[in-house]
């Protein structure tokens, strides 16, 4: 299924790294490694980012988007919003997902007010729903008519781009280095699409949703107590 031009443009707007969701203030754990002087150049940041895509983005965000696409009713989306939120053990990751998701939802609901988007926003306003970024994006993309694989890829890729831009500022890396990392990351995004599709095909998407590597989770937890932080997570 090809998306309509309006669907493509909507996707480009909502996954643009300039979209004011606050993504520029989240390292999602890499600042802990930075602080430990483990991320200092292109090689070390690339290795970290590849691990992050394979672990966190594949097993959390990508699966959540796919499960939203498979949802038969909005009650299922409500349950997925809860599931993807509670599986995020590190407090800053959970709160970051909700904060960025809330902003994405309010921008999305204003620009593309489909039925589920509006119900989602209503649920968040009433504090019945969390508004996690991955499930919010799943609903928006679905209502924009974006094909499922494209919806997964564009969300993972948008996260990769904002993390790399944050690394360019934070580590710091050169601008050209950042672009080279983003180009490399396209392979990992493709793998996230394929692996998450395979987990759905195996019927274990929901069961493994949130299975993130322990070292990464520990780093994300320890970020809460790190002094002199550049990032909120």
């Amino acid at each position: 299924m090809e998306p309509s031009l309006s669907g493509v443009l909507g996707l480009m707007q909502l996954t643009d790294s300039a979209l004011p969701t606050g993504a520029f203030s989240h390292s999602l754990g890499f600042e802990t490694y930075m602080h430990a002087e483990q991320l200092e150049d292109r090689e070390s940041f690339s290795a970290w980012l590849e691990m992050f895509v394979d672990q966190q983005l594949t097993h959390t965000d990508a699966l959540a988007v796919r499960l939203v696409y498979a949802a038969e009713d909005f009650e299922r989306v409500e349950d997925l919003d809860d599931l993807v939120t509670v599986q995020a053990l590190p407090r800053q990751i959970r709160e970051g997902g909700i904060t960025m998701g809330g902003r994405l939802l309010s921008i999305g609901a204003r620009s593309y007010p489909g039925e589920w988007v509006q119900r989602y926003e209503q649920g968040v306003v009433e504090e019945r729903l969390h508004g996690h970024q991955a499930t919010v994006w799943g609903v928006l993309a679905r209502e924009l008519g974006v094909p499922e694989d494209t919806a997964v890829a564009s969300h993972v890729y948008a996260t990769v781009i904002s993390l790399t831009q944050n690394a360019v500022r934070g580590i710091p890396l050169g601008q050209n280095t950042g672009q080279a990392v983003i180009r490399d990351a396209q392979h990992w995004v493709g793998r996230a699409v394929a692996v998450s599709r395979d987990l759905v095909a195996q019927g274990i998407a929901e069961e493994v949703l949130g299975a993130v590597a322990p070292g990464l989770e520990i780093a994300q937890m320890n970020h809460e107590r790190q002094r002199a932080r550049l990032f909120m997570s």
Partner: protein, 304 residues
């Protein structure tokens, strides 16, 4: 916030548990009388049993030790532990020795554990470490439904497994999923999810399992999940000190979305070079909770 699993998914899960032929099953119902907890109901079948109960201190908490007479889990084995701790009762549940999963060419070995905690009840689940052998796959699913006034400790230790050549991480797959829900004080309201804790290790699927982000050069992992309405900031601060003082590389965080029906959740995730390093941290945390909440002596599990 609500969200307790779609009714369809839940009923199909219940049906599948009911229809499973268990390699071993253990059903334990613990109640309290005159300050002393005891097994009001006990049923075991196949390759799971419990040893005679112990009272390790004067708190009235009963300790049961699960044993597997077969010695290990084999391919396609399915085990069920069903635990109910009734109003005011207190149970420490442990194992006699490490849980071993041998090669599983017939399919993964699975353990399903369902727990229901009544008002004011306590469960300290502190099994020995898990060892998955070369060529083994293991899936563990734990589901806890707790009253908002209950107190829960779940502690798990995962080793790098065993292989004849001494190679670490020679097993095929390990999956552990724990979901905790809080039951509403008003039975007409819906249960709410507190937290989902996941661990999945597939040694062949990770480029460098020991490397950055995954094991960070360590061999053992630990998971400690605490759920209790009394996990306040002062206590959290103290637990943070215990984590920092331990011989592990660990993180601690406030997990769970919101505080469903007032229940708070704290999770500790650890990496270490030995079972004992993780076990020592878990013991330190359990002992702190025992002392603070119940004036209870340190948990000293006697295993011979």
């Amino acid at each position: 916030m609500h969200g307790a699993g779609s009714a369809g998914a839940r009923s199909s899960r219940i049906r599948s548990l009911a229809e499973t032929e268990w390699t071993g099953q253990l059903r334990l119902g613990v109640a309290e009388r005159d300050g002393r907890s005891y097994a009001a109901r006990q049923f075991h079948e196949g390759a799971l049993r419990v040893l005679r109960p112990h009272y390790l201190d004067h708190s009235g908490q009963v300790t049961y030790t699960v044993i597997n007479p077969g010695g290990a889990y084999f391919g396609a084995d399915a085990y069920l532990l069903d635990v109910v701790v009734e109003r005011g009762a207190s149970l420490a549940l442990t194992t006699q020795s490490a849980t071993k999963v041998y090669r599983t060419p017939q399919g993964p070995a699975t353990q399903e554990m369902t727990v229901r905690l009544g008002p004011g009840s306590v469960l300290d689940y502190v099994p020995d470490q898990l060892i998955v052998y070369r060529g083994g796959s293991y899936i563990q699913r734990t589901r806890v439904d707790m009253d908002p006034t209950a107190s829960l400790v779940l502690a798990e230790i995962v080793t790098p497994g065993w292989s004849p050549s001494g190679e670490s991480f020679a097993y095929d797959e390990l999956r552990m999923r724990t979901e905790v829900r809080v039951l509403p004080p008003d039975p007409a309201a819906r249960p709410r999810r507190l937290v989902v804790d996941q661990l999945r290790i597939r040694p062949d699927a990770h480029g460098d399992l020991t490397g950055v982000g995954f094991m960070e050069g360590r061999s053992h992992t630990g998971q400690l999940l605490l759920a209790d309405a009394r996990l306040d900031d002062d206590l959290y601060e103290r637990l943070t000190e215990l984590v920092d003082a331990s011989d592990t590389h660990s993180g601690i965080t406030r997990a769970g979305a919101g505080e469903p029906y007032g229940v708070r959740c704290v999770c500790v995730r650890s990496l270490a070079d030995s079972t004992e390093a993780v076990a020592a941290l878990h013991r330190a945390v359990v002992d702190e909770l025992h002392e603070r909440w119940r004036g209870q002596a340190p948990l000293r599990l006697r295993k011979y």
